[in-house]
Subunit: 268 residues, 2 copies
């Protein structure tokens, strides 16, 4: 194994971006510039830095900005892909994002209602063969549904709110572009939440399997699969750790045992 | 913990869909109906069935069809989300799928060139603020690039071919809609491969970090990060197992130790 001889920092001092499961968003978002600086400075001080991220670093995760900053300082890094919120929500809500009979593509969107985006954006969401996942769209739900219907999307289009996806307090609320705002006013699902829109959402009624005891009463109330889950297997999600979190933690623990004398810093 | 008392099959006989890392596609695809039948019959015979899948079960993975079949037979199941090929390719190619400065959304597409899809489909791929990942698009590369340019997409649009993503033989080839076909004719990257299109692809030149010794000569040749990787850490991807595969296998092993006397069947 070769080592780089023109290394500008101590060998092996480096940064790894690892993902843990979708986490509750902090109310006080730490300034990204501060994080970038912390990663760079910690590595320059000779530590191996593990940057834990929620979801996938490269999907609405600002992982790109972090490694650009590292690259600018010639600090080596690894990026470990993760389960982005859309995938977690889909699996645990029983909503396939693609399906040969219903959806041939899937699109992850966020914040497109911000920054004075023109309504014409809605025109690009008329394809009924495509599933759309809106990250962080719950606060814009009314503008979103109105905009889509005004742009020509059928008011019958199925849409789901998945709240606290994959967590023991997961809740799923399904409706259509016409009635989801009213349903949410009644049911008040909390954030963090994402929205899944498309014909595949109609499959939730039959395919839901996780945390069914938490479902709103307009949803599937069959608890067979849920009882099986609660009966317990080693892989049953626990309240404290999802399997992905456990996986990330075991990777961190493995790193910590590396016999290279480097101090390790975990930035969550 | 309660057990369902109105269970129609033996308690705990059930199916879990788990993902392992992106695998080489089989040349002889097993008929999906045969797999569905195998899952159902094995569970009905009282086994706990682990269905291993490549990628994410709900993104071009036919997981929806499999659990529809289970549901029709009242067989409980779990679905564990996985790393879909787009996420793996992005992380290991150093191409952020979203980036505040370049891309506010991402789209996963497959097979839209098949089944006589009209060229007008290309018109929906003109948004320069969106990254598009084409699964299994390599064989259609010429038609794809021509169609997109004819539909009005700039011929300067960056596009990457990521071959054997995340594997020791990963290769990345970058170009534009205008020249990627010619570059691929020269370089002949093998399948499995996916295509990433959008401004974020331009970041690969600076951000690439994995398997740089395998890069084509038109790409980034700095091997600092690569040497660090080959220097070895506990989390360095191994030739035989990716960390996600190891994770899936450990879940399977955990299940096998469940003290319920059920025979376990793993279907890969």
């Amino acid at each position: 194994m070769m080592r780089s001889s023109h290394h500008s920092i101590r060998p092996m001092a480096a940064v790894m971006l690892i993902s843990v499961c979708w986490q509750k968003r902090s109310n006080h978002a730490v300034a990204q510039l501060g994080i970038n600086e912390l990663l760079v400075n910690s590595a320059k001080e000779g530590r191996r830095v593990v940057r834990l991220k929620g979801g996938d670093p490269f999907i609405f995760g600002r992982g790109g900005e972090e490694i650009e900053s590292l690259r600018a300082h010639s600090i080596p890094y690894q990026v470990v892909p993760g389960i982005t919120a859309a995938n977690a929500a889909a699996s645990y809500a029983g909503i396939p994002l693609t399906h040969r009979d219903h959806s041939q593509s899937v699109r992850f969107v966020t914040g497109f209602l911000k920054a004075g985006a023109p309504n014409s954006n809605f025109k690009s969401f008329l394809n009924t063969d495509e599933t759309v996942v809106f990250y962080m769209g719950l606060h814009s739900l009314a503008r979103l549904t109105t905009g889509l219907i005004d742009a020509g999307r059928s008011s019958d289009t199925p849409i789901a709110i998945v709240s606290n996806a994959s967590m023991p307090n997961q809740q799923v609320l399904t409706g259509t572009l016409a009635d989801i705002v009213e349903l949410q006013e009644k049911n008040q699902l909390p954030t963090p939440a994402l929205l899944i829109m498309g014909d595949v959402v109609a499959l939730h009624h039959d395919l839901a399997w996780y945390n069914l005891q938490n479902q709103q009463k307009n949803n599937n109330s069959d608890t067979t699969a849920s009882n099986w889950l609660r009966g317990g297997t080693a892989a049953t999600p626990k309240a404290d750790h999802t399997s992905q979190q456990a996986h990330a933690l075991s990777m961190v623990a493995n790193l910590a045992t590396a016999d290279d004398g480097l101090e390790q810093l975990v930035i969550g």
